[in-house]
Amino acid sequence: MLTASETGVRIYNLGPLEQVPLGEGRAFLVGSTPVAVFRPRNGKVYATQALCTHKGGPLADGLLGGETLVCPLHAYRFNLATGQPVGHECSALRTYAVVVGPDGCIRLALP
């Protein structure tokens, strides 16, 4: 759970989940950190760095399938939960802890 932030972790409220259409992703500028938030149809919510480690593609514009994210520029794949590349050797995506609170708002932790 995302709780106390004494360790330097900051928690941000990204606003209502509905800002991200079902099955899609959206980019957020959280403080000064660009983040992509995804809302696949499996009911979960994930957050990764905003740009692809291959050639900087805008990941929030990608296609989702379960836990897999496909970058819109060159179709490189990543696992949303772990950030790990799938079928290629680019470096993994940074991932961020994210939850939807009882108020229906997305909360994201930045280290």
Binding site: R10, I11, Y12, N13, L14, G15, Q19, V20, P21, L22, G23, E24, R26, A27, F28, L29, V30, G31, P34, P40, R41, N42, A50, K55, G56, G57, P58, D61, G62, L63, L64, G65, G66, T68, L69, V70, P72, L73, A75, R77, G87, H88, R107
Partner: protein, 815 residues
């Protein structure tokens, strides 16, 4: 969770091991405790490559597929070097020496086959062992023994001129021996070849100094302790100091027979591969007899292994095996040979096409039945083999000109030299994948085109290198190429062909992409399948399609083309490439106001505004006041025109007028891949209509030629003339009919040039011009309905589908 069942496998050869691979990859390890018996003390190895071991081209350690450690990793208990001795089907237990007893819920027999040893006088010594210098050729141990003995031998006779015998002969020739082949009948490889091709093969072998003795029935082996020759029925003899017996194989069925299972030539199995009289015991591979056939080639074994793994893992409990269409491709003594299906005609109506070039040892023979390939023999020239194998496997309707099947049209010949290609040659020019990288992936276990492409990303760009990747795979995998069943699926994530998928979608009334995943893919959503499904559903349901925006590529969510920096390009429709000062002024104003980073004339005679951010798109469209040019999607794109009769002194037809009409009619019509059109006003063809997906060219006499299937991109192809007509209306009628047929029959991402080649222009003329299937009226009505349903997507500027549709980035401050 229920307790795990126990699955016992007897036989760890090519079929058994393949089954284990398939089963564990489908999650069978979670359902079963798996135990395997293999009577050789190794992991499993590729028996096909044994001749390579004999000839010295392969080291024994290179032919192992899975080492013993693989079994540990997969949680499989392997009794290596242990031969199962007895099956008690009442208590469901397999017994083996050293007090091994394994109980089973499911038992799989993959006991393979053994060499047939003909009854020869003097075969054995007093102690019952073979005379020294006499060998069979079946296992890795046989190979080692043959190799060791060959070092001291001078003259070897191989008894049996079948496939395996020739392979053995090849190996022994390379060891420096004088090689003789002794064969019972009048021609070599009589199971696969007809007399003419066998004769050519024989000549090729004799030119390599192999001695062939036909119609020789061996009756005795001469010599005391060591073999010194063969005696024949006709009284003659052949001196030799080594003999390899390769007179065919017999299924290993003793264990099954002793256990009371039904055995004829092989263990008799049903379509679910279970034994006739025990539903918990299954048989696959060379020991199994399905529908009266016992298969000895690798591809059917793999099909059986796959089907059984799908059934037992629960991935597809309804999977059935319906027999295999047998084909094989091999190099016999360095000579390319491919055989498939029937080697001779079976009915009077069967058509036989042959081409013989004795001086080069080339022989090609096709047996055509009902317009489809029923069989073929291709010797000495492998150029057309992939094409014919495909036609055979898929029962394709053949082109009427049979010569197209016998000879390549030049273009493909470049891919054939894959063996000579240096390792650092770049094969995939989109992703920069070299031959060396492909070879590494193949050596690492990728055996199908899809697996190689997934592992290296080769072929995942424009796809035009796939034939070359396939050629490298076939060359490097040496007969081990797997056909990935998913190549027949319409999309990778739903295990159905297009026909099956359409039937399921209609039958179960599935109107959205998520509904298809839920019902037909066990709820597993696959990103790579979404776009193809969306395209198909839209074609099936039209306005009743339930459009889910997440099943669209970003371009189709925001109706613009994403660029390498995440900005977008906007191309408004300019009908027929004919614009006006007013339009140009508006475009210029928009380009300035929204700071387009580049303004470019496109190849389709339009104007592209590049470098626009997503959030400005709605305002750009509103200010332009022009409809979308659909330059970002799989749909009708544009109709390029030349000036035509309006101004051109050569003009024979009103190409600009026609182009404008075409664009107004077909704008936004979605299709399996993009469609680029053109209309040329005379045969000088300045609009390049003959290399477009669909094109029209005016000819003298006030008529128009309608072309389909042209291309001038990653592939260059001149289109085929579908028909010649008189009026603009007729041009558009046939164009529309073709487009609708392509929309219905084309595979997703199959361009028209591949589609036209696949179905054949003759077929298209019959269906679309002569109306041979009585469907023209319906096609015309369907395309009209699609045209009527057209809405300019740029109207979403006023009515976005989602409040965040055009949002690029939301800013958040600390909570």
């Amino acid at each position: 969770m229920a307790a795990k069942q126990r699955l016992v496998l007897i036989g760890n050869g090519m079929a058994g091991a393949r089954f284990l691979e398939e089963l564990t990859s489908l999650g069978g390890g979670e359902q079963y405790d798996i135990v395997a018996f293999g009577d050789e003390p190794y992991g499993n190895y590729n028996r096909i490559l044994l001749s390579g071991v004999v000839s010295g081209t392969h080291d024994p350690k290179d032919i192992f597929i899975n080492p013993l450690s693989w079994y540990r990793e997969k949680g499989v208990t392997l009794h290596a070097g242990v031969r199962a001795g007895w099956i008690d089907r009442d208590s469901k237990k397999v017994y083996a020496p050293n007090n091994i007893g394994e109980t089973y819920d499911k038992l799989v027999l993959a006991t393979g086959s053994q060499p047939f040893v003909p009854p020869l006088e003097g075969l054995t010594r007093e102690d019952g062992r073979f005379k020294e210098g006499v060998f069979v050729f079946r296992t890795l141990d046989d190979c080692s023994a043959i190799l060791a003995y060959a070092q001291q031998a001078k003259r070897v006779a191989v008894i049996g001129g079948g496939l395996l015998g020739l392979e053995a002969a090849r190996g022994l020739l390379k060891q420096g021996l004088e090689v003789h082949i002794v064969h019972l009948t009048a021609h070599l490889m009589d199971a696969q070849l007809d007399p003419s091709s066998a004769k050519l093969l024989q000549r090729a072998m004799e030119s390599m100094n192999i001695h062939v003795h036909l119609e020789k029935s061996s009756t005795a082996l001469l010599g005391n302790e060591c073999v010194s020759g063969i005696g024949f029925k006709d009284g003659s003899r052949l001196d030799c100091d080594m003999v390899v017996l390769s007179a065919g194989i017999r299924p290993n069925v003793d264990l099954a027979r002793a256990s009371g299972l039904t055995v004829q030539r092989g263990i008799v199995v049903h379509n679910d591969l279970s034994c006739r009289n025990d539903p918990n015991v299954f048989a696959i591979g060379e020991c199994a007899q399905h529908n009266n056939v016992v298969y000895g080639l690798v591809a059917p074994l793999w099909e059986q292994a796959r089907v059984l793994a799908e059934r037992l893992s629960g991935k597809n409990p309804q999977a059935v095996y319906r027999g295999s269409r047998v084909s094989t491709k091999l190099k016999v003594m360095g000579v390319d040979l491919a055989v498939m299906g029937d080697k001779d005609p079976r009915h009077e109506e069967d058509e036989v096409v042959t081409y013989v070039e004795p001086s080069r040892g080339i022989y090609k023979k096709l047996v055509v039945r009902d317009g489809k390939l029923a069989g073929a023999i291709l010797l000495g020239d492998g150029q057309m083999t992939p094409r014919l194998l495909q036609a055979f496997d898929r029962s394709e309707l053949l082109p009427e000109s049979r010569s197209e099947l016998l000879f390549s049209l030049g273009e493909q010949s470049q891919k054939l030299s894959v063996a000579d290609m240096p390792d650092d040659t770049q094969v995939c020019n989109c992703n920069g994948v070299s031959k060396a990288k492909l070879l590494a992936a193949i050596k690492g276990g990728a055996r199908s085109l899809k697996a190689v492409c997934d592992a290296t990303r080769a072929g995942t760009g424009c796809g035009s290198c796939k034939p070359q990747v396939q050629a490298i795979l076939e060359w490097a995998a040496d007969g081990l190429v797997a056909e990935d069943p998913s190549v027949h699926y319409y999309v990778p994530g739903v295990p159905l062909t297009k026909v099956e998928l359409v039937r399921a979608i209609k039958g179960q009334d599935l109107r959205s992409v998520s509904a298809v995943f839920a019902v037909l893919a066990e709820g597993r959503e696959d990103a790579a399948s979404k776009l193809g499904l969306a395209s198909l559903l839209k074609t099936i349901w039209g306005k009743d399609y339930e459009d889910e925006r997440d099943a669209r590529f970003i371009n189709d969510r925001v109706h613009a083309n994403i660029q390498n920096d995440g900005t977008f390009s906007v191309i408004p429709r300019i009908y027929g490439g004919v614009t006006s000062p007013d339009q140009l002024r508006r475009i210029a104003d928009v380009a300035e106001k929204y700071q387009a980073r580049m303004v470019k004339i496109t190849g389709g005679q339009r104007i592209d505004l590049l470098g626009l951010p997503k959030e400005s798109l709605p305002a750009v469209w509103q200010d332009l006041g022009m409809p979308s040019g659909h330059a970002y999607t799989k749909a009708f794109r544009t109709c390029k025109t030349c000036v035509g009769t309006d101004f051109c002194r050569y003009g024979l037809g009103d190409s600009t007028g026609l182009g404008i009409q075409i664009e107004q009619r077909f704008q936004g019509i979605e299709s399996p891949h993009k469609m680029k059109l053109a209309a040329s006003g005379c045969p000088r063809n300045c609009a390049e209509a003959t290399t477009k997906d669909v094109g029209a060219v005016a000819i003298e006499g006030g008529r128009w030629e309608v072309y389909v299937g042209g291309a001038a991109g990653s592939k260059v192809r001149k289109g085929d003339v579908l028909c010649v007509v008189d009026t603009h209306d007729e041009v558009m009628q046939y164009m529309g009919r073709f487009m609708q047929y392509y929309r219905e029959q084309g595979k997703y991402l199959e361009r028209t040039y591949d589609f036209v080649e696949r179905v054949g222009v003759d077929h298209l003329r019959q269906v679309l011009v002569e109306d041979s299937e009585g469907m023209c009226e319906r096609l015309d009505a369907e395309i009209q309905a699609a045209i009527n349903a057209y809405v300019d997507p740029w109207k979403e500027a006023d009515h976005p589908k989602h409040p965040a549709q055009f949002v690029r980035e939301l800013a958040v401050v600390e909570d």
